[in-house]
Symmetry: C2
Subunit: 359 residues, 2 copies
Amino acid sequence: VNDPTVTTRVTPYVLEEDAVRVLDQRFLPAQENWRVVRTAEEMADAIRTLAVRGAPLLGAMAAYGMWLGAVRARDGDRTHLDAAVAGARALLGRSRPTAVNLFHALERCDAALATAPGDPEARVAALKACADGVARADREACRALALHGARHLPDEGGVLTHCNAGALATCGVGTALGVIRAALALGKRLKVYADETRPLLQGARLTAWELMQDSIDVTILPDGAAAHLVWRGSIQAAVVGADRIARNGDVANKVGTSGVALACHRHGVPLWVAAPLTTVDPRTPDGRAIPIEERADDEVTGPPGGPPWAPTGVKVFNPAFDVTEASLVHGIITEVGVAQPVTPATLAALLAQAPAGTN
Amino acid sequence: VNDPTVTTRVTPYVLEEDAVRVLDQRFLPAQENWRVVRTAEEMADAIRTLAVRGAPLLGAMAAYGMWLGAVRARDGDRTHLDAAVAGARALLGRSRPTAVNLFHALERCDAALATAPGDPEARVAALKACADGVARADREACRALALHGARHLPDEGGVLTHCNAGALATCGVGTALGVIRAALALGKRLKVYADETRPLLQGARLTAWELMQDSIDVTILPDGAAAHLVWRGSIQAAVVGADRIARNGDVANKVGTSGVALACHRHGVPLWVAAPLTTVDPRTPDGRAIPIEERADDEVTGPPGGPPWAPTGVKVFNPAFDVTEASLVHGIITEVGVAQPVTPATLAALLAQAPAGTN
């Protein structure tokens, strides 16, 4: 069997000499603003402000942030460098609370540093190699999970996705959008529907832009219209990403995902979660134990960056993520295979196949 | 038993001499722009552009639009006036397709005209009386259904609503928000959560503004966060309005309602639909038979009135309404009582109590 080539024209970052150039996703699709990140502080800021976002990408960006912390302190001694890296780690660890990939990547950096020689340049190089490894592993995981998932999509029909689990959210072809890209590469005739994904509109802004860059058929809709689209029979499968998957298979993903899952469940449409194994956190027993980040009111009271449309002083509930119960998830697609049905046992079986150091 | 007084400071229109002054809801909450509507054409335009909206209010506005059509032709003979009124009727009948109240009101006007004397002034007066009757009936229906519904809300807790089924959508205290107002008047301690209701944000803009005018505790949230709010236990009941209710109890309401219903159903939270009997259409067998208006792309590609945030040329799915299946509706609250469970029989029993001419 020949696997199809899965490609994309989209890339969210480029490595430079002692810096990372990142595509500032807040300005998409109107502008492709590239921003040079030279310090751990700048990387933490890029993560916190969502200039870069997407759980798998955040892992690589956090690791490169550690490297930048070391780079900027390479002229001192080991004590100086280690203190700078510890500061970088603390800063990056506070940048976003929900994506477990970020914490995994920081732990990989800790391990790389623990075994690296004491010479500052060697420690810089160790962190660079670690970050490159995180990025490469993510790129390979995207490709592998895309191929595992592609055969589960229908030969034709509508596929619903939420938020942006694409190339812009990873170091490769994306997770959910990687599965769709691979299915298209297999010759399947799919029409993609992308929820706009309020409040930050990663669907309307990013998924639409990303898929149009690759000439993939995409239609956007308000989040509230997703259940209607499923009800009227336009959707044959849904594929979403994940920010954290608990041991029992409960999935934290962009807020609105659980609503998509409920609509799919009601109408017998399979909902697939596509995510690298780094997203699975066996230390989290279930969805109730996942911390859900709540974000600023002004993301909801008006358009991104624009004047408010809600009354001054209104109260706001703005969770960034929600929890989709395992029983609503048809299957979890990873780089080593698919957990279906989603149970602690099927998930554990996948984790047992994970390359060393993944979790 | 003394019924509580249910009041609001909010009113969406004021009658003037041969004109209707309407609050242009598109400018809320930033501005209270009042607009004088003098002709049927202007009324149809106000309805089509959503300057006025809300199924019950559209009934009264359509009837006043017929009256204005006659007023502007009162200086001619009966033939001239009847032709003008027929033109007004055609125009108003094409303004919005989903709200059945609008068509009921037009039919009431037909009947009033059929029995009115031939003298133009008498025909103008007959249409005025008819429109006043539609408005009065709606005001009374709001009050009655608010009182019927109020006792079904919990004594305390969170109540979720979607879109604006309030004073701004009716001639009285509102339907869903009328029920909440009456529950508060009974001394219940409720915290209202209002979905922002993309794309036109009638929740973030109108429900939030309307409830704050009456000093009612309200929190807005993105539509996609509603399922999460229910999942985490913050919601003890949901109350929404309806644009059309089919004979079997399927409910067409603002897009996103069915998602709220699915979340409530999953977590054992009762979802109530509050609507006057004019909203029930026995000629529509079920939700599949309800025409769902699809609206312009630019409502979704950017903020209301603002520059686009989605890529140029992206395809858009923008249904204004969705269908909530009867089995997901805990009860339907009307001015003559509550249908619970929602079945063709319980609905028919309510319709049998309707005042003559309601349906």
